[in-house]
């Protein structure tokens, strides 16, 4: 193929990835409202469409039709730029997420490095949004958000190192393929697949905790603690700018769920005649449900407890996990 055709193909796949991403975010938002409502013995959205299924779309239209306010004292350029920096990296993560063996836009050889490199941009957007709003609540939320995210960045990176040591590759497709061989066999039947959750249970525990904190989901949603900071770093944002922050955040939470499936739960691999894509989305939505469940169950923790946990518990433990993994691998 000539270069023009290749660029055309990638653009097409990119637009498709954007569409798939947004559809999934919409499902996530609807699911979150419904599941939390169910756990609080309410109905949740019921009016728009059958069982309120069109509610997220109505919300988007409502947000689009709202006045776009830039506070007079705000730093105008940065204020407008912040939603860009929140949404574009969140979308760029879709590039290398393998939905199934061949359904991936580009299987980057440095996949994991790329993903976490891009995720590191998120605190920048939070900080810029908080600072440029010229509002006390926004600034406090922005600072807290950035501090929280950089504190959990390192445990997040260190927790998956065990998996990389076992696989010897950064590519997400390679990581899933390494999990498709059986761990325990009984004759021709696989009792346990070699999913990394069985080999790296503590790695997964650390990964998921750090990931929740990194994407600011409850119980770690300090930057937007509604009861004390109004809406956190995006207090001053209205209309589509607010919606973009919202989309970016949910997109990151979705990616975190998808990544736990890919890295620890065998990605698209499953059993029976069901295609891999179905398995992948099924597993991902189990994690999405789990995240929502946590949100409606756990209270928010304090900022000092949060920072303590990141630096004094998670960071040393993840490093110890790497060493123990190394010794176990040598010992075998």
């Amino acid at each position: 193929m000539d270069s023009g055709a290749i660029i055309g193909m990638i653009t097409l796949k990119g637009v498709l990835a954007l569409a798939i991403g947004i559809v999934n975010i919409v499902i996530f938002i609807y699911m979150e409202r419904k599941v939390i409502a169910d756990m609080q013995v309410r109905f949740g959205p019921m009016r728009v469409g059958p069982h309120g299924t069109l509610q997220p779309i109505a919300d988007v239209i409502k947000l689009l039709a709202k006045e776009d306010i830039v506070p007079a004292a705000a730093d105008r350029l940065l204020f407008i730029l912040a939603p860009f920096i929140a949404f574009v990296p969140a979308f760029m993560l879709y590039l290398t997420i393998p939905i199934s063996e061949n359904l991936v836009v580009a299987d980057l050889p440095l996949g994991i490095f790329y993903l976490f490199g891009i995720l590191t941009v998120v605190p920048v957007s939070v900080l810029i949004a908080g600072w440029s709003s010229h509002s006390k609540y926004a600034l406090l939320g922005g600072l807290r958000g950035a501090a929280q995210q950089i504190s959990y960045e390192i445990p997040l990176l260190a927790s998956i190192l065990g998996v990389i040591m076992l696989t010897g590759s950064f590519s997400l497709v390679d990581i899933v393929k390494a999990q498709q061989v059986p761990l325990i066999k009984l004759g021709a039947f696989t009792i346990l697949p070699r999913w990394f959750i069985f080999l790296q249970p503590f790695g997964f525990l650390f990964y998921f905790t750090a990931a929740l904190a990194d994407t600011q989901r409850t119980p770690f949603d300090m930057p937007e603690a509604e009861s004390e900071l109004v809406q956190g770093y995006n207090t001053e944002y209205s209309s589509i700018k607010f919606a973009l922050f919202f989309l970016g955040e949910y997109s990151n939470a979705l990616i975190i769920s998808a990544l736990s499936v890919i890295i620890f739960f065998g990605g698209w691999s499953g059993f029976g005649p069901i295609p891999g894509v179905v398995w992948f989305f099924l597993k991902t939505y189990v994690f999405v449900y789990f995240i929502i469940w946590l949100r409606s169950t756990l209270p928010r923790i304090r900022i000092d407890q949060l920072m303590d946990m990141g630096w004094k518990i998670l960071l040393p433990l993840t490093l110890v996990n790497i060493i123990v993994t190394g010794f176990l691998m040598i010992g075998r």
């Binding site: 290749i6 660029i7 990638i10 653009t11 990119g14 954007l18 689009l64 006045e67 776009d68 306010i69 830039v70 506070p71 007079a72 004292a73 705000a74 860009f84 949404f87 574009v88 979308f91 760029m92 879709y94 590039l95 836009v105 580009a106 980057l108 790329y114 600072w131 709003s133 010229h134 509002s135 006390k136 926004a138 600034l139 600072l143 950035a146 950089i150 504190s151 960045e153 390192i154 990176l157 260190a158 190192l161 990389i164 040591m165 950064f170 001053e236 209309s239 919606a243 973009l244 900022i303 000092d304 920072m307 630096w311 490093l319 790497i322 060493i323 190394g326 010794f327 691998m329 040598i330």
Partner: protein, 124 residues
Amino acid sequence: MSTHVTNLISIIIFMLIGSGFVLVMYGLVRLIAPTATSHEKLEPYECGETVVGQPWVHINIRYYIFAMLFLIFDIETVFLFPWAIVFKKLALFGLIEMVVFIFILLVGLAYPWKKGVLRWDVTI
């Protein structure tokens, strides 16, 4: 084109598509949303009260220290990644090297811990 170049191009294209989507959304809002600005609307939100003082004030030095710690540890984790990928080839030698490295890292963590920098309940 080699796969390497294709991958780079696909990253750039994704960036452009993302930015394009945001721009289209901004344009849509320009078209649809009403504009009826007033002085009160452009004030920063402060629960309906008149704004008191400046938001851009002195902030706790602790944030700065955490940012610096993050920088140090992030660079050290970057060193861990290439090691992890060739770990199987390096075997025991590589592991002992890394144990020493991680030990130094942990000493680096223990020092600010002991100094009380990681505590939030006291003012420095």
